[in-house]
């Protein structure tokens, strides 16, 4: 997979959804890349976290991904 094109696909998807949702399962990203193995998609989004484009949100048992700073959590907990 081309890294830049992949990142763009992810960001476009997040932008499209930004009105209704700010956090997503890894599987939601798999659906954007039907040609690629889940492992490849996992590497793409985890790389985007390393580059601080995305961030993890974890309940403790489940991990979700979102655009860094998007959504209510950071502000609500006075962590921004």
């Amino acid at each position: 997979m081309d890294k830049e094109a992949g990142q763009k696909t992810v960001l476009d998807f997040l932008k499209k959804k930004s009105k209704s949702k700010s956090k997503f399962y890894l599987k939601d990203f798999n659906a954007l890349f039907p040609e690629d193995k889940p492992r490849v998609v996992k590497n793409l989004v985890n790389q985007m976290v390393q580059e601080e484009i995305l961030e993890y949100w974890s309940s403790g048992s489940t991990t979700l991904y979102g655009k860094k700073g998007a959504g209510k959590q950071a502000a609500a907990e006075h962590e921004d």
Binding site: L26, K37, K42, Y56, W57, G60, T62, Q73, E77
Partner: protein, 437 residues
């Protein structure tokens, strides 16, 4: 005088058992006195406030904790569990009360230096409260604030040569029994396999890759001291293929009362004279043992390696020489569809470095589960939903009698296209030669 009155919690201290309430009060007092002059990095009265918020929850009959958060150390998707309370004005000491999971050492072997370092770190940068250990196996450090996380991570990794554990949709911290380090029952080196797989799958441990949590646990024998069969998506249980080794002289010594049964574990009470027939032969689950004319014999073909006879007479009976591991899959706790124990997938595989045969099975399972598993679906649930047969296909393992749990309850057999000669395609003209319209 305590900061908050806690009449409901106080009641918990009245029973015969040690109470976490007493522990919290003790730590609250020790932090208040601060005899060592620790420069507490989080509120000194954190333990008072944890007691206060818990009392309030008991009073209201509902929790005052929110769920989850964007906390973690840079580059890691697991190991820190964000917790915030919804009454920060009333209980500022626990406004942030994040938990850290720290990878426990193999077999949970510690030296006192490490434990002191851990306690000092946690008095300094956390609440002082720990849980040794969480059910996953980790060292659990309870209660700290977001600005402390990177500092703690630095100390743990640089000064203590330890790492964060797993949480979230990750490989959780693998855990193992003490195995060959101390235990003669161990059929393989649990600590080596556990460590090797922990190192091999660092990425899966620290960076979320899965639909949900995934656990490995390693037991050296079917006694299952880390309860892998009940608590891990993939459970590695030591076993042997050949015969149980019998020392006839020692059998006679047990029968004669010279050696106490169960290595003396039940000697706190007089259970009467040891009765080998009643206590061993008749309790063998597969009835494959006999004791006649002073001679103990075992029909090893029927032995399920339950460990009972060996546990009772450890000096007389020993595990076989041809040792390996059984791999079971799909155990889980009761959140959805009830609790489930592991199902046998690989009856026997030799445990040999670099463990490639074992890694092959693991990776085939992950590929299948990552592809087919729904969000928050454990491996055991996927196996139930799609069938054990699908798991066999995904791992390329041939069905064997040990995979059969019960006689079939469904009379239909559905052939797959590749199992039928020529597949589904037929030459219609060839067919019409023999069958009119």
């Amino acid at each position: 005088m305590a900061k908050h009155a806690t009449p409901l919690l106080d009641q918990l201290e009245s029973g015969p058992w040690p109470s976490f309430v007493s522990d919290l009060k003790q730590e609250a007092e020790s932090r208040a006195k601060n005899e060592k002059g620790v420069e507490h990095q989080i509120p000194q009265d954190v333990c008072e406030d944890i007691l206060g918020i818990l009392e309030l929850s008991y009073k209201h009959g509902r929790t005052h904790w929110k769920h989850g958060g964007i906390v973690g150390v840079f580059g890691y998707g697991g190991g820190v569990i964000g917790r915030y309370c919804d009454q920060p004005e009333m209980f500022p000491g626990v406004a942030h009360f994040h938990t850290l999971r720290i990878n426990q050492p193999g077999g949970k072997f510690y030296n006192t230096k490490f434990l002191r370092q851990l306690c000092d770190l946690w008095d300094f940068r956390g609440s002082g409260m720990t849980n040794m250990h969480g059910s996953t196996g980790d060292i659990v450090l309870l209660g700290t604030t977001t600005p402390q996380l990177e500092e703690i991570f630095h100390t743990i990794t640089h000064d203590m040569n330890q790492d964060l554990g797993g949480s979230g949709s990750n490989l959780r911290t693998p855990s193992d029994c003490i195995g060959q380090a101390r235990c003669e029952y161990a059929c393989y080196d649990t600590q080596d396999l556990c460590y090797a797989l922990t190192m091999e799958y660092q990425d899966e441990l620290h960076r979320p890759a899965f639909p949900y949590k995934f656990k490995f646990k390693f037991d050296g024998c079917p006694n299952c001291c880390v309860a892998s069969i009940a608590r891990s998506d993939m459970s590695f249980i030591g076993t042997w293929k050949d015969d149980i080794r019998i020392d006839k002289k020692a059998v006679a010594a047990y029968v004669g009362g010279e050696i106490p049964p169960n290595a003396g574990a039940h000697s706190g009470r007089d259970w009467g004279k040891f009765d080998i027939v009643k206590e061993v032969i008749n309790l063998c689950p597969t009835k494959c043992m006999s004791y006649e004319g002073g001679k103990l014999s075992i029909n090893n073909r029927e032995c399920t390696r339950c460990m009972h006879c060996i546990n009772v007479m450890p000096q007389a009976l020993r595990i076989g020489n041809e040792k390996g591991v059984s791999i079971l899959v799909g155990a889980k706790a009761p959140i959805l569809d009830g609790a489930q124990m592991g199902s046998l997938l690989v009856p026997f595989v030799k445990v040999e470095e670099p463990y490639d045969k074992i890694k092959e099975v693991i990776e085939a399972i992950w590929d299948w589960w990552m592809e087919e598993g729904k969000n928050r679906e454990r491996l055991g649930e996927l196996i139930k939903r799609q069938g054990f047969q699908k798991l066999l296909e995904a791992t390329g393992i041939k069905a064997i009698p040990q995979h059969v749990k019960e006689p079939r309850t469904n009379p239909y057999i559905f052939w797959k296209e590749d199992e039928v000669k020529g597949g589904w395609d037929r030459d219609i003209n060839e067919f019409r030669k023999h069958h009119q319209r």
